[in-house]
């Protein structure tokens, strides 16, 4: 079968070139057709989306957008809906994640965007979300109005299913005309979602487009990069630097680079009752999306002095990962990914020869755990269910071990008693950690999450203020003025 990707209002399928890309996994194959726009088509699309956003989206109350997104998400949550069925069928083939991971992941993630959660997104960033609809009183006096960009360009990356919806929905909530560039590794969900929105509220459907070009193709991306007011981009630092260099200086650039997650387990969480359950949660965070997420843990710092020693906890983790491998088989790895796993494992094995590391699992197992007793700084593993457990005498040692990598920090999964959680969080915050989650929920940020410590909505808008003085001065010109 061939599935067409994207959402391209105003462009007929026949008028476009389509690049066909085959994907295969779990014994099935699918061919995706990705749209390739020429410069004139791209420029016209940008203009059309901008124009429609100005004429329609900007004129709507934000609640209408919330309702439409809620309705679209409701359909994607309905396992009987044809699109949901299509998603459950195709996403495992395209991304390689197993069916259950995709199904559970989609449901968990989409729940983030129901009506109450969307209102929470708004409330999180705006003291009074009505300022997206009109001027509202400001605390300092006067009035404030928030405007999203007329044209917001999203450049998505990665194969985590539906990840694109986060920024797409945030853009819509601030009434931004939105064009999203699909990630080659998951080029489906954003287009489906846009299509659903167009079905539910055709006017909104005219204010967004979902496109594709080959990453780094200068000619293809230029019309979009030139037209956008704001660019939200995901990718490695090299990709982001190249993008930034191509943008006009007046364009607002919101980059989200690659990140590394880690876990911290306090001794009070390590008794014979709690530790196995905790290991299960941590293993879940490792296995979900094969550590491809920015929030996925690659290292676990485990405190000595609990009833369960770090070495023993490493054994629990190994067992849990082995069990998970049965329920959620690992994606088939590309040769490069397999080499990354083998390279990392090989290096750990060599350290093991010197007695410095203990390795769990066989080379051919779809997971690896290595346990080291000497404190060691944060570093990436081979990904795809490879985890390093580092024993520390005290949690207080952890901030110094992760601090040198501030630019890559984001999520820490912490299991500790309240007082220690707060004390540790204080120091983790100081070295650049922006999110502290419980183990088991590292890959599922809550609605309203401040992605990379930034505001999901507020970073997108520009405020216009009517100063109290202007308001007062206007009084002087009123027909009723004395």
């Amino acid at each position: 079968m061939i599935a067409n990707a994207g959402h391209l209002p105003g462009l007929s399928r026949e008028a476009l070139r389509w690049r066909e890309v085959a994907h295969g996994a779990w014994g099935e194959r699918v061919v995706l057709a990705l749209p390739e726009l020429d410069a004139a088509q791209a420029a016209a699309l940008c203009e059309r989306v901008r124009e429609n956003a100005r004429e329609r989206l900007k004129q709507m109350p934000v609640t209408r957008i919330v309702d439409a997104v809620d309705a679209a998400v409701a359909r994607l949550l309905d396992r009987e809906h044809p699109l949901r069925r299509k998603a459950e069928h195709l996403l495992p083939i395209v991304t390689g994640y197993d069916r259950e991971t995709v199904r559970l992941g989609l449901t968990g993630y989409l729940r983030t965007f129901r009506r109450p959660q969307l209102l929470r997104f708004l409330a999180e960033d705006f003291a009074n979300p009505a300022m997206l609809d009109g001027f509202q009183p400001a605390a300092k006096g006067g009035l404030l109005r928030a405007q999203g960009p007329e044209l917001l360009l999203h450049i998505w990356a990665g194969n985590v299913p539906a990840l694109s919806l986060w920024s797409l929905i945030c853009g819509l909530l601030v009434k931004a005309g939105s064009i999203g560039k699909l990630a080659s590794a998951e080029p489906l969900t954003a287009g489906w979602f846009a299509g659903l929105l167009a079905e539910i509220d055709p006017e909104i459907g005219e204010c967004l487009a979902v496109v594709w070009w080959k990453g780094g193709d200068a000619a293809a991306e230029a019309p979009f990069l030139q037209a956008a007011d704001t660019v939200m981009a995901y990718g490695g630092n090299e990709t982001l630097a190249a993008l930034r260099a191509k943008l006009p200086v007046t364009t607002r650039f919101l980059p989200h680079g690659h990140r590394i997650g880690f876990g911290v387990v306090a001794r009070e969480a390590l008794d014979s009752r709690k530790a196995p359950a905790l290991a299960r949660l941590a293993a879940h965070d490792v296995a979900r999306y094969e550590q491809q997420g920015c929030y996925s843990p690659q290292m676990l710092f485990v405190e000595r002095g609990g009833r369960v020693a770090p070495a023993e906890f490493a054994g629990y983790l190994a067992r849990e990962l082995a069990a998970l491998a049965h329920r959620h088989p690992r994606r088939a790895l590309s040769p490069g990914e397999a080499a990354a796993v083998a390279g990392w494992r090989g290096a750990q094995e060599l350290r093991g020869l010197e007695g410095a590391a203990e390795l769990f699992g066989e080379p051919a197992d779809p997971w690896s755990v290595v346990h080291v007793e000497a404190a060691e700084a944060l570093s990436p593993t081979g990904l795809n269910r490879t985890l390093k457990l580092v024993a520390v005498d005290d949690l207080a040692a952890v901030p110094a071990l992760v601090g040198p990598y501030r630019a890559f920090l984001q999520t820490a999964g912490v299991a500790a008693a309240p007082e220690r959680l707060l004390r540790l969080a204080e120091r983790l915050a100081a070295v650049g950690v922006s999110r502290i989650a419980p183990l088991g929920r590292m890959t599922a940020p809550e609605p309203g999450w401040h992605h990379d410590g930034r505001f999901s909505l507020l970073d997108l808008v520009t405020l216009t203020e009517i100063e109290p003085g202007a308001e007062a001065a206007a009084e002087g010109f009123a027909p009723y003025a004395d």
Binding site: G257, H258, A339, A342, G346, L350
Partner: protein
Amino acid sequence: MTQAEIIEALLAFIARPDASEAEFEAMALKVFAYQFRNNAPYKRFCLQRGRTPLAVKRWCDIPAVPITAFKDLTLSCCPPEAASHVFMTSGTTQGVRGRSYHPTLAVWQRSMLDNFRARFMRGRARIRMGILFPDDGELPNSSLAHYLSLARRACGTPDSQGFIDAGGLDLDGLLAALARAEAGGEPYALLGASYSFVPVLDALAAQGRRFALPEGSLILDTGGFKGQSRELAPDAFYDALSAAFGVPRDSCINMYGMTELSSQFYDDGNAVCPSVKSGPHWVRSRVVDPLTGADLPDGEGGVLVHHDLAHFNCVSAILTEDAGEIVPGGFLLLGRVDGEASKGCSVAVAEFLAAARG
């Protein structure tokens, strides 16, 4: 076997191109037993894999160490301080360079020369050479500097020259030598790191100059671009070499070698890329699944493992970070397999290290 005995046996084996498969296997098992006994970290590695000289009966079951081990471990059968030469990798991981210890270069040199004569010299005793790399006096720890210096001493004419030293590239000297060679009618050989050719190509292009070196001239490049120059795709690179120097692509030979081995691999020119590479009779190459170490069927891409008997003092069997595929007549080298970015938004080792380097 003592060190002297293993050296003698290897020199004899290298001298016998007609050695049978069984003889290779017997020699490989001897070398393995020698390394197992004398190289303590390798012994531990083998024990962990459950592969001892008693258990291993076939050369392909000899455990191959990941190439990073040369950074992490001291892999030497002689005490490291007894090594007359230590070759180090140019690439580092957080400041650590891979090392190969050589108590003598006798086997290394014999391996290099026999193979170089057979695969590069094309029947000549000597050829005038231009070397685009510093010599071994300047870079005593570089196996490539030793390789090229030995090539020049043993197979170059007395008027052969090096054109790169601490001061950089002597472009004028090179262009003068090329012009002389062009006028003189004697074949000329230009040898160096792949990246050393790029500034020369750029300079020639900028000057609008090209040479037509005499028939029989040769080019040898090795090692790729390693971020030392801009990257060229293989076809573009050999087209450019061929156009700039007038040497046909089938006389542009790529040598594939590494610090962690004592022998090299060659193709028979690069008329077609990727070219088929192969090693001498004292080397075997396999392509494996990096996770399991199991051999992959011919024609399937995996990671290259080399068994180089000449690398007797360290470890003869190494698991590289090079992607390859077994084909009739040898193997295809398909680039590096490490450093693949994550498919998602988690940071992977390569990017992390790049940032740590600053």
